[in-house]
């Protein structure tokens, strides 16, 4: 019996051949031209420090919905240097074979790396470079850190600020006036009144507007959350989420104000319940993707 065209078997063969061709194109994207490495994952630096929080924050990022993201915690004291393009590596000196280990300590490194390990902080391989900085620290950054942050902002990198980090850099107006568009004011300063912090609040949250970050976002409820009231807000922010809880400012998530960097600020994010809330996780995921230019 003659086999009909378009059977399952031939469709499988066609799909296999198409997939193989696609894979080959991905593996050899520039045959005949200069080879260029294309990152497929979004690389994220997650930095906390100075304020306590539950470990469910990091647990959240192991949720499969963050598939496709390489998320590396590095807590304060942390450098932001890997947000910037790495300077070209110097040519290897003749006769120097061993790889250098941790710079602070000197010494050599013996290596036997698992084949699927994406990158290794201590191993001397060039850093792939972070696309997005997710913050939940609360401190006044030292001057070298500010300089790197400013360069990353001006280079158009992505920033997602969670909860505590809305109190970062009280004494650096450029950061909150020109970048984030909001400040949790920790003490009266410069005409700004101290913000207040509420605890164990239940927040009915609703999306504001039609931003890509809010795609598929419906109203949801957060429990046992910390609220901020009377934060300083720039009139230029784009609200993303609002609440009618009286102990909180009405706008609790927004897009920042810098013209080149992609900045998202999310006020909730302190309780285990919030970290495990699927709507919250989707909000954080979408914010990272948007900040990385992937939405």
């Amino acid at each position: 019996m003659k086999r009909a065209t378009g059977t399952s078997a031939s469709r499988r063969r066609f799909l296999t051949a198409t997939a193989a061709a696609g894979a080959a194109a991905l593996l050899h994207p520039a045959r005949g031209a200069a080879q260029k490495i294309t990152k497929t994952q979004v690389w994220i630096q997650l930095t906390t420090g100075g304020k306590p929080y539950p470990p469910t924050l990091q647990e959240m990022f192991l949720d499969p919905m963050f598939f496709g993201m390489e998320i590396w915690p590095i807590d304060q004291p942390a450098s932001f240097a890997a947000l910037l393009p790495a300077p070209p590596a110097p040519p290897p000196a003749a006769g120097v074979a061993p790889t250098q280990g941790r710079g602070a300590l000197g010494g050599g490194t013996e290596r036997d790396e698992p084949p699927d390990y994406p990158w290794e902080p201590s191993g001397g391989r060039p850093h792939p470079g972070y696309d997005v900085l997710v913050l939940n620290d609360q401190m006044d950054w030292p001057e070298p850190t500010r300089k790197l942050a400013q360069q990353a902002v001006e280079a158009g990198k992505g920033f997602v600020l969670l909860h505590h980090s809305l109190g970062d850099n009280q004494d650096w107006p450029w950061w909150y006036q020109e970048v984030t568009g909001g400040l949790l004011v920790l003490s009266d300063r410069g005409g700004m009144k101290r913000s207040t912090v509420g605890t164990a609040a239940n927040l009915e949250v609703r999306p504001a507007g039609k931003h890509p970050i809010l795609r598929h976002t419906k109203p949801f409820t957060l429990t046992n959350e910390e609220t901020f009231k009377d934060m300083w807000h720039s009139p230029k922010i784009t609200p993303l989420l609002q609440t009618s809880n009286g102990g909180s400012d009405s706008t609790i998530a927004w897009v920042g104000v810098h013209p080149t960097a992609k900045v998202v600020c999310i006020q909730p994010g302190t309780s285990r319940e919030t970290h495990r809330n699927l709507s919250y996780r989707m909000l954080v995921r979408n914010s990272i993707l948007w900040a990385a230019g992937r939405l």
Binding site: G49, K51, Y53, Q58, P73, I74, D75, G101, G107
Partner: protein, 258 residues
């Protein structure tokens, strides 16, 4: 047996082993919680990348008997002596330049109060040759000190070792733990371990000058314990690794009888 059926068999065997561990973990946690309120544990990383799995370890069901807060630097030890002071501080920070004086004073207060410290991976190098008292009298190790003969000239990093970890002696931390394989970790083969330390675990990796991987530090009042592994995501999600860290936390908090 085809490849596919071998994979199915291995998958089922691994799942069964994992399930038996998961069943045992809440039982252990329930036993410990019956002894009193949950231990207050502070996890302090900082200054170096750590995998997400290191933090998520503290949300593992086997850690249900401890209440963990993450508090990285700066001002990480400000709560010591206060009403919500931690019972046990678990460090994985990498502050080779040394903690500031205010942090050192707080930590001494914590130790003098007889509380617990668990030092993981990166943190065996924290303070290092900047605060000799910490390295020699509290945690009992140097990751690097050019004044110790041999430490200046040999490799101090080995990535990534697949080693067998074997318990030593009859300390409460090692009771019930069988030798186990630990996959793909960064090791420090050339550390100096104080002879006043009590070794708990050794490695079979041949490159170690001193095979000690885990030990009780020499501090006389506090319960200080160190465990060198903990660099990769593979290790930090390994059930054996988590069991060792959990035992160390319980012992440091006075919840495992000596």
């Amino acid at each position: 047996m085809s490849n596919w059926s071998r994979r199915n068999f291995l998958g089922a065997a691994l799942a069964a082993a994992a399930a038996s561990r998961l069943e045992a973990a809440p039982a252990r946690a329930a036993q410990a919680s019956a002894r009193g309120p949950r231990l207050k544990v502070q996890f302090t990383p900082g200054g170096h990348t750590s995998p997400l799995q290191m933090y998520a370890m503290f949300t593992d069901p086997s850690f249900a008997d401890v209440d963990t807060t993450v508090l990285p630097h700066p001002r990480a030890f400000d709560g010591i002596g206060g009403p919500n002071a931690p019972d046990v501080i678990v460090t994985n920070d990498w502050i080779t330049g040394g903690w500031p004086e205010s942090d050192r004073a707080k930590m001494v207060k914590h130790l003098d109060a007889g509380k617990g410290v668990v030092v993981l991976h990166h943190a065996v190098g924290t303070n290092n040759d900047q605060w000799p008292w910490w390295s020699e009298e509290a945690i009992g190790c140097f990751l690097y000190n050019p004044n110790v003969p041999g430490m200046k000239t040999q490799g101090r990093l080995k990535q990534f070792v697949r080693q067998t970890v074997t318990p030593v002696g009859n300390h409460p931390i090692v009771r019930g733990i069988e030798p186990f394989n630990l996959p793909w970790d960064e090791t420090f083969p050339n550390m100096w371990i104080s002879p006043k330390s009590t070794v708990l675990f050794v490695s079979d990796d041949p490159s170690f000058n001193n095979p000690a991987l885990g030990w009780v530090g020499p501090h006389q009042k506090a319960r200080v314990v160190c465990f060198q592994p903990g660099h990769t995501r593979n290790v930090c999600q390994d059930p054996n690794y988590r069991q060792v860290v959990h035992n160390m936390v319980l012992w440091a908090g006075g919840r495992l009888a000596s």
